[in-house]
Amino acid sequence: MSGPSLMDSLFQRSLEDIIKGLRQQLIGEQAFISKALEEIRKEIKSTDLSTKSTALLKLSYLSNLHFHDLSFAAFHALEVLSSPRFSHKKIAYHAISLSFHDSTPVLLLITNHLRKDLNSTNEFEVSLSLQCLSRIANVDLARDLTPEVFALLSSNKLYLRKRAVAVVLRVFEKYPDSVRVCFKRLVENLENSDPQILSAVVGVFSELACKDPRSYLPLAPEFYKILVDSKNNWISIKVLKIFSKLAPLEPRLAKRVVEPICDLLRNTGAKSLLFECIRTVVTSLSEYESAVRLAVGKVREFLVDEDPNLKYLGLQALRIVAEKHLWAVSENKEVVIKSLSDGDPNIKIESLRLVMAMVSEHNVSEISRVLVNYALKSDPVFCNEILGSILSTCSRNLYEIIVDFDWYVSLLGEMSRIPHCQTGEEIENQLIDIGLRVKDVRPELVRVARDLLIDPALLGNSFLHSVLSAAAWASGEYVEFSRNPLELMEALLQPRTSLLPSSIRTVYIQSAFKVLVFCLHTCFVRGGSIVASASLNNLPAGVSASVSYESFDEFSVENGADASVVHGQTCASAPITKESIVNLLNLVELALGPLLGSHDVEVQERARNLLGFIDLTKPEVLNSAVQEKDDSEGKGVETSKIIKLMHDAFSKELGPVSLSAQGKVSLPDGLKLKENLGDLEMICGDLEPPSSNAFSFGSSYEQKDGLSFSNLQIKEDSEQTNESTSLLAEHRKRHGLYYLPSGKSELVSNDYPPANDPILQGDIDDNADNLVKLTAESLVPKRKSNHGKPRPVVVKLDEVDEKHVAMKKPESRDDSLSGAVRDVLFGCEDVPPTLSQSNLSNKLSSKRKGKEKQHTDPHAESKENVIDDGNSSLRRKDRSHGKERRHRSPRKKNAEERKETNQKEKEKSRRHHGRHKSRQRAEEPLKVSAQTPVIPDFLL
């Protein structure tokens, strides 16, 4: 050995030195560590194995507790691993299990080391190697070391056998084909009487059964025996886990195990086992009323216990029971409600979940009342937890449990005023959603919105801004229900709105616009005079009325002649007088004037729109206000027309549109979507003038888009003015190819309502009625008659959406592991689930006759089958598996297709397995046909 290396090892700092050093560093710990790491980097390159291993040990320590990368030492770890000394090996294995993972480059090099140690005579070396394998095994390692693990599964040293059993789980996961080799021995270990082995085996099966319980049904008799005989609580718990997975699949099995489990429930003193029994009963044996009663009785003991752990678990168990046996919760209602004010936030949340599970349409208002009171008193986190769960519970399935929407809307308003409320966005979504869906609630909605808007204090709370945005929108959109629009306007324009983010300010301005139009309309148009709706229809289609002021003027000039309308001087609704209108206009001008210079384009543009509108109407309004007597004609009438037009534009119903509405329009025969549309240019050329007209005044609709409704899209109906349709019709005649044939009837036949009825003049109520009529088939079917107040109609369009979501749910894929297990357990016979079940029941009944016989039974059968069918059994089995799966989850078409591809993949992998098989044949002295996945003889 050379000098420096000897010096190195003599003066090398040990791990203990490092730890002591670290303890002395109050500050500068990082500096100390980096110095140590520097040393380690040097030492680990040493040729002396003890120096190297000490360095590795120090490095593992720093990696484990101080998050320092250990990967650079991967190769050095392998070098230490090759040391003959056990203490070196131990250090190396520790470092390797800490740092190696699937993408470690030197992973390939470890196989032989592991194999050597697995075959070692020193059982601790074997154990280290197994331990390491259980941590780092990848596909290659699992495949290459399967024979060694297989041999150890029946080692006569219990210590090793136990560990080999535990490793099998990882090997199976990584390399499913190993099931064919090892499964039989694993099952044999189930009958071992030694608790060490048994606990390991049962642990493995409980993990396996979690993933795919059905495959392990044939082993139920063995598990049953363990359940009845076991004296060890660890093992009993694991077996119970297995049964909680198996019992739902096989009713006869459930019937069989319910008694022993109840016995355990009654007699066990161990809380952990007791809890596992409770959990098994409430999750998997919930049809057995007496068992559930017994379990709920025990849950009650948990609930009233001093120990917070038991209380928490009791609540959790109760939540599982609640799904099927609500009485269990009602019986323990007081405890649950009391737990809402427990000192432990986890217990509080758990009891909140339970309370929410109790909610039904009968008690929703009382429970919400109680919860909102709790929320007021709670800390911010739990408060929002409460609010969030109220919101999500009440909105479930399109407000399924809400009967009294007036109440709910006012509750939403109340919730948003709770000081800690941070659920503004959800409240916003629901307010708008309800406004759109439930027509009857709109008056109340406007009232709630007004209360929110009018409170200047709320503007300072940034969490509430989104709620205010919804309130502003609702008050603008449904302003006709407002008792006092003028007050609303003041609220919308109050100075503190400057606190709002600009995106919400735009909503405020737009709503102010709507309110203003409504006021003007009420005062000048509706007030006694008859505006011939026809007169508007006569407007020449070519009038270009983009939002610029000039075009407004043009518009009025052109139409001045045929005006024959007298606008009224008596306002229908009391508060709106001409004077107040003038004040209103002044107020708007005053409030929005400064916004013309706003840096936010949206705010600026909307303010400009509104002010432009005022510019147009104000002179005439002032005029009439002064004169009081209506003798104006010409210009004045045009103004009223503008008002009328705006009002109509705004009062058009916004309907909900299903997300997948477009998809429902079937592709017409003649339509070629992929055709080159170059010649469309020419046609577009002469389409120009009408298209610009189609947007006249309709820009407001575009602006509303900015509101982002949760599930709704606003369908832009470009046919806003009927007059343009004539021109369009003409165009359609000429270029029929580019239009959907009879677009409207198409929509209806696809049974979803058009989002916007093209009726421009009809009043809003009519519109809504139509919508309701059209959606009649998709309305909520349940109308509870036992309520004094009938549940209002909730417009529902989302079935398609739900389906959409359902389809997205991940398929429970049969992975190759369970496939392999099934192959081994069921053999290659054509086993539909019923057959396997009858096998099982046979076994259960013949339990006492003799273990060996039952045990070999299915395998013997399968062997015969294999001999009979030979090759064809593979194909047939595949099909039956497919059928079985289809049985279990009848899903939508898409899913079906996916399954088929899945199956194809599976077939492919099976062929792949075949290849491995042939390789295995070389190693094992067995006759295994390469093409058929016959179970190897030693399994039978």
């Binding site: 203990e16 730890i19 303890r23 040990l57 320590y61 990696s63 484990n64 507790l65 998050f67 320092h68 990368d69 056990f86 203490s87 131990k90 250090i91 520790h94 993972h101 699937d102 601790f124 154990s127 197994l130 331990q131 259980s134 941590r135 136990k162 560990r163 535990a166 490793v167 789980l169 990882r170 060490q196 606990s199 390991a200 642990g203 493995v204 409980s206 993990e207 979690c210 060890n232 609580n233 660890w234 718990i237 886990k241 809380k271 952990s272 809890f275 596992e276 959990r279 917070p308 752990n309 209380k311 928490y312 678990l313 000192g343 432990d344 936030p345 986890n346 217990i347």
Partner: protein, 143 residues
């Protein structure tokens, strides 16, 4: 896989032992440990020993200045894990004699070894103190 990780953390939130049964990168581990320790150490004696975190359930218990935290998946029996923690502490106590934080600090590899005897691949394989300790005692005799 039952148990996903086992941590021992002192009152100051320093990790004294970390054992993972699934692969996490150092950064993931650092983040996870930080979050869990913050969550669990903030809780008091009167509160229950279970915390939900991400997709884990954390079962923890405090012994003197050390917190034992075990991350399990949702299927696991919390009370059994509490018993497991107690068993672990008793085993270490028997080996070190009145075990304390320093014992674990200076004999980290032994603590790891005991854990490896008790847990493999995320499931508890050995629950007898004598069985857990016998290999360690043999090795100590040998060296």
């Amino acid at each position: 896989m039952g148990i996903r990780f086992i941590l021992m953390v002192n009152k100051q939130g320093q990790t004294r032992l970390a054992q993972y049964y699934e692969w996490l990168t150092l950064e993931e581990r650092r983040a996870l440990e930080g979050e869990i320790v913050r969550k669990c150490l903030a809780r008091n004696e009167q509160q229950c020993s279970f915390v939900e975190h991400r997709n884990y359930k954390i079962v923890y218990r405090r012994y003197a200045s050390l917190f034992f935290l075990v991350g399990v998946d949702n299927e696991e029996n919390e009370l059994a894990i509490l018993e497991f923690i107690h068993l672990l502490v008793e085993t270490m106590d028997r080996h070190f004699g009145n075990v304390c934080e320093l014992d674990i600090m200076f004999h980290l590899e032994k603590a790891h070894f005991m854990l490896e005897e008790m847990v493999m691949n995320g499931s508890v394989v050995e629950t007898s103190k004598a069985n857990i300790l016998s290999p360690i005692q043999l090795m100590e005799k040998a060296s």
